[in-house]
């Protein structure tokens, strides 16, 4: 039995390492690519930097424009998440735990946003944003992003809220708590894994969004990182080594955020909290 245990353990590690390799190789290509020149990339697609070129990373890290874009991306990502989490959890909560007439219709309505190709909605969306004066404004990006992020958020949150046992709800109601108290004091704390998950998904989606920010934020000072990456491409040619350096740097904040949020996702619910 013991040796079987060891074999299974080993087997797990082997799989983990294989997957790790598959993940890391393209990633390291991106990171290392920033240390090479375009010519190196052409002549030997596979290979270590030779010589190591630090200019790309250095130039970018000392460029005020880059940091402005980081700031803008962070602001928009935080705004988007700050809108999605409360709005989606409030809605998902009642949809999941209370029955009311029209409930499934409301849920279905939210699903519609998931099924409709976003590309088409952009044109009328742009006009709407212009009419309410939200162009060239981080909110002009954050609000639509949040709106389009609601379907996934609600769809993912609903089963989580459902799964929280009724005993918790009953116990609190007996204490006289209304639905909002229940939501705030009981459900939310228990839902850290799913809230963390949605936060991460929302931040990543916002971080990498390109098309909507491009249309809404014409002012260079408002540009986000993906627009900045795109601007490295000149009218007639692209320096790919620089692009790789830029995007590698752009990836770092999002990864850091995930590493931090990951604690919330994983350490959230334990059996002790649920059972009484």
């Amino acid at each position: 039995m013991g040796s079987r245990r060891i074999l299974t353990g080993l087997g797990l590690y082997v799989v983990a390492i294989a997957v790790l390799a598959m993940v890391l190789i393209p990633l390291s290509f991106s990171i290392l690519g920033g240390f090479r020149t375009n010519m190196q990339l052409i002549e030997s697609p596979v290979g270590l930097p030779n010589p190591w070129v630090f200019e790309h990373y250095k130039d970018i890290a000392t460029d005020a424009r880059f940091w402005r874009q980081v700031r803008n991306s962070v602001v928009i990502a935080l705004l988007t998440t700050a809108v999605v989490l409360p709005a989606a959890s409030l809605a998902a909560y009642v949809i999941a735990r209370y029955r009311f007439r029209g409930r499934e219709a409301v849920y279905g309505l939210f699903t519609v946003g998931l099924l409709f190709p976003v590309a088409v909605a952009i044109v009328p969306l742009y006009i709407t944003l212009r009419q309410v004066g939200l162009l060239n404004n981080p909110l002009g990006v954050a609000l639509p992003q949040a709106a389009f992020g609601l379907p996934v958020a609600i769809i993912v949150m609903r089963p989580f809220f459902r799964a929280i046992p009724k005993e918790m709800q009953d116990a609190a109601s007996i204490d006289g708590a209304g639905p909002f108290r229940l939501y705030w004091s009981v459900m939310l704390p228990l839902s850290r894994p799913v809230l963390g998950t949605i936060a991460v998904i929302t931040v990543v989606m916002s971080w990498n969004a390109f098309f909507l920010p491009l249309l809404v934020l014409t002012d260079v000072d408002q540009h986000t990182l993906p627009i900045g990456v795109n601007n490295i491409s000149a009218q007639y040619s692209t320096d790919y080594a620089r692009v790789l350096a830029y995007t590698t740097l752009a990836m770092v904040p999002a990864l850091v955020f995930y590493a931090l949020a990951e604690r919330q996702i994983v350490s959230g619910l334990t059996a002790g909290a649920v059972k009484d």
């Binding site: 990339l41 596979v46 046992p165």
Partner: protein
């Protein structure tokens, strides 16, 4: 939901009676208040634009001039007879099948793996998630370098003496879709992994431990305890995977633009093409057809698979 650990209303309603009009413990105003924030921004920024673009589908419009050229259902007729659109739909179909067969089990296995107390799993989780964090543009650039003639993959193959297996991974119209699938899986498995991981985390340890104490093997525990409890999350993951496959755009566009010559097109890249051609009315019609298709799939899925989750709501018997 029979998978609940606690008793739920659904048991009470399992007799198939109509749902109560309104649960005790909540009032209509309260419900409205809860729904209001989400509904408000959703209605203004999602529903309203969708309705507007539905209007456009009835016109021949280049996106610049006023909306004057009404053509009724012409655009729709055109969409249904468009061979390139049909090809795109087929491609989406292949991707859905491949995703369900390969991507989800893979993500599930990894999530289970990372749920176990392996040392270094936190680092592993972050690294496995990294491809999802990477922007589509970078994924496209990196993978194009890997799959280009004499790129990383080709060189790897010759290193192990398997040059003969080398192909034009992204330039051969016959295999480009499969190459793309590999890239798609690489990029998005992290998303499903953390979703399933969160679901696994929510399962109380005691239940699993109880099963093991009762003499179940790890595999049996997984199959008979974990999987059912993971059910709802798993079903959501599959649903999002299907919908994601239907809406696939960014990664494909950045990597192949749907090429070469449309061999890797998806419904969404085909749609975007129509915008680039200045055919806004037609594009809107195409998007409505896509929407219709997604709706049918979503409804069928909800009914067939998520029946149990909906039991007691009166929607499903």
């Amino acid at each position: 939901m029979t998978a609940d650990t606690g008793g739920t209303r659904s048991r009470r309603g399992a007799g198939g009676s109509r749902p109560r009009r309104l649960d005790r413990g909540i009032s209509w105003p309260a419900i409205l208040l809860f729904l209001l924030p989400a509904l408000a921004i959703y209605a203004g920024l999602v529903l309203y634009p969708i309705v507007q673009s539905t209007r456009y589908s009835l016109y021949d419009w280049n996106g610049l001039e006023p909306l004057t050229d009404f053509v009724g259902v012409d655009n729709f007729r055109r969409a249904f007879s468009d061979a390139r659109f049909r090809a795109a739909i087929r491609h989406n179909g292949y991707i859905i099948v491949l995703s369900l067969l390969l991507q989800i089990p893979f993500a599930l296995g990894l999530a289970a793996l990372l749920n176990v107390k392996l040392p270094g799993r936190r680092l592993l989780r972050t690294l496995f998630f990294a491809p999802y964090v990477l922007s589509e543009v970078v994924a496209g650039v990196v993978w194009r370098q890997i799959l280009r003639p004499n790129g990383l993959l080709d060189q790897g193959l010759s290193a192990v003496g398997a040059e003969g297996l080398s192909r034009e991974w992204l330039a051969d119209p016959d295999i480009v879709l499969y190459s793309l699938f590999v890239i798609i899986s690489w990029k998005y498995f992290g998303f499903h992994m953390i979703l399933l991981l969160a679901g696994l985390q929510q399962i109380p340890k005691e239940i699993g431990e109880a099963a093991l104490i009762d003499g179940a093997t790890s595999w049996q525990k997984f199959r008979h305890v974990t999987l059912p409890l993971l059910g709802p999350t798993l079903r959501v993951s599959v649903f999002l995977s299907i919908i994601g496959a239907l809406q696939l755009f960014d990664l494909v566009w950045v990597t192949t633009k749907g090429g070469p010559i449309g061999a890797s097109s998806t419904m969404a890249t085909h749609l975007y093409e129509q915008f680039r051609r200045g055919l806004f009315g037609y594009a809107s019609a195409v998007s409505i057809v896509i929407f219709g298709l997604c709706l049918v799939v979503a409804l069928a899925y909800q009914r067939a698979v998520m029946r149990r989750d909906l039991r007691g709501t009166g929607l499903v018997g």
